[in-house]
Amino acid sequence: MDLVFIQLLNGVQYGLLIFLAASGLTLIFGIMGVINLSHGSFYMLGAYGALTLTAFTGDIFLALLIGVPLAFVFGIVIEWLFIRHLYDRDHLQQVLLTFALILIFNEAQKLLWGSYPHSVPIPSYLQGGVKISALLTYPYYRIAVAAFCVALALLMVFVIQKTRVGRIIRAGESNREMVEALGIDSRLLFRFVFAAGVALAATAGIVAAPLESVYPGIGEPILIISFVVVVIGGIGSVKGAFIGAILIGVADALGKVYFPAFSSSVVYALMAAVLIARPGGLFGRAA
């Protein structure tokens, strides 16, 4: 198979994974107006959670079943303890507080799981892969992750477009006051959205764990790349996050092939270019 095609495939698959993490960030930012620097930490906790839960249950998908609700509850606790104090505050104070959370979570990770890298097993039924060239195999688990991400994206579309919760989320994005005036407690909405964002980040961390292996600081690159995706897509837009994530994934993969020396700048250059052409991101309301 053509090398460029394989790279595109890799880029899309990587993009799908960052979409998972970025979608939670864009929801939290778009609806609650909170800049959450600790989003990468929830990804990290998801990955480490996967390590423990897989050891316990023996299967990453069982870990997912237990881990996601746990992450949701954890999100509620964090919102109640810290985040709810920030809604009337300056963005800068949100930055400071969520940065402090990173410090705490990183240290907690070290105390709970130690500093050695670990790997999380791929379930036996997903071992191996599809042969796509003479030497190259595309692993089943990567295909499964891509499919899972697409399924989750479709589920999110369904939830947001077709369910009552989704209606409230969409309404909250455009007119919070009216949501409150119609009898929906916006404090609960915020708590739910934050917890959902945490659960999404953790989900990304869990499904990525067998791919990424698990090591300290695993959440930081994801944080930065998620912010880039959110900004490219337009703040608050899940659709934008999806397109942005795929764009970034592909740009990153192609950048590594064609501009290896500057490949870490490619995504930033892309973001700067998008913002100069469309100051509100691809699907955002103008800033």
């Binding site: 409230i168 309404a171 994005e173 409150e180 119609l182 009898g183 407690d185 916006s186």
Partner: protein
């Protein structure tokens, strides 16, 4: 004397340094329709928003159907039976007409739904025609209908209507007024703010005029009509 639907006592509301409501007190009986009149900037909208819980008064107390709500959130007032159709309509642009309507559909505390979706659609057939359109695809009049319909679907016992006919063509206004009449006659307590004196006086059991953040006049439509000087001073040219 029965428990008033709304009992407001000595409400003061500030926006920053500006003192908008200055000691407003009044009551609205269950099922009563009250008009709220006055020129722009006199505090009518602020009063409605204060009643709905969208603005916190700096002092005073508010009771709805006998329950103290001064410090409760807008959402809990809504669930207690208060509905507001705000100035600007507050339509959710990224929800369809039907989603807007069913957004907060709920029964009242007796478990009844006096305004089910079918009734709203028969009240405003145009909404039924456009039920799959997005909120921002509607004309001003349709948005107004949608906002009223959405409020009714919360099965309210108290209904606040702010500038429902603003910017609408005369024919549409008539349509809106006809519906509002049906609503007020259904036993809901209502406070209605509007510029169209005639329509209001025809509808209201009682009228209040606000000026400079205070209620200057309370009385029946007949009493108000009789006082041409008052109308001239606060409402006319």
């Amino acid at each position: 004397m029965s428990t008033p639907a709304i009992l407001a006592e000595n409400i003061n509301t500030h926006y920053g340094r500006s003192h908008i409501l200055r000691g407003v007190s009044f009551r609205v009986a269950p099922g009563e329709t009250v008009s709220l009149l006055g020129r722009n900037g006199m505090g009518k909208t602020t009063l409605l928003r204060t009643l709905a819980g969208l603005v916190r008064p700096s002092s005073g107390s508010i009771q709805l159907n006998g329950a103290e709500v001064t410090n409760s959130r807008a959402s809990s007032r809504s669930r207690a039976g208060l509905a507001i159709v705000p100035e600007g309509r507050g339509i959710f642009p990224n929800l369809t007409v039907e989603e807007n309507l069913t957004f907060a559909s709920r029964a009242n505390n007796k478990g009844e739904r006096p305004w089910p979706l079918e009734r709203i659609y028969s009240l405003f057939p145009r909404l039924a025609e456009r039920k799959h359109h997005w909120g921002n695809e509607l004309s001003g009049g349709e948005q107004q209908m949608l906002s009223i319909g959405r409020a009714l679907m919360t099965s309210p016992s108290i209904f606040l209507l702010d500038e429902a006919t603003e910017g609408l063509a005369p024919k549409l206004r008539d349509e809106i007024w006809a519906t509002v009449k049906q609503i007020t006659q259904s036993g809901i307590a209502a406070i209605i703010v509007d510029k169209n004196l005639n329509d209001l006086l025809a509808l209201a059991d009682r009228n209040m005029i606000m000026a400079k953040g205070e209620i200057m006049f309370e009385g029946t439509s007949a009493a108000l009509r009789a006082d041409e000087a008052l109308i001239h001073r606060h409402l006319g040219v």
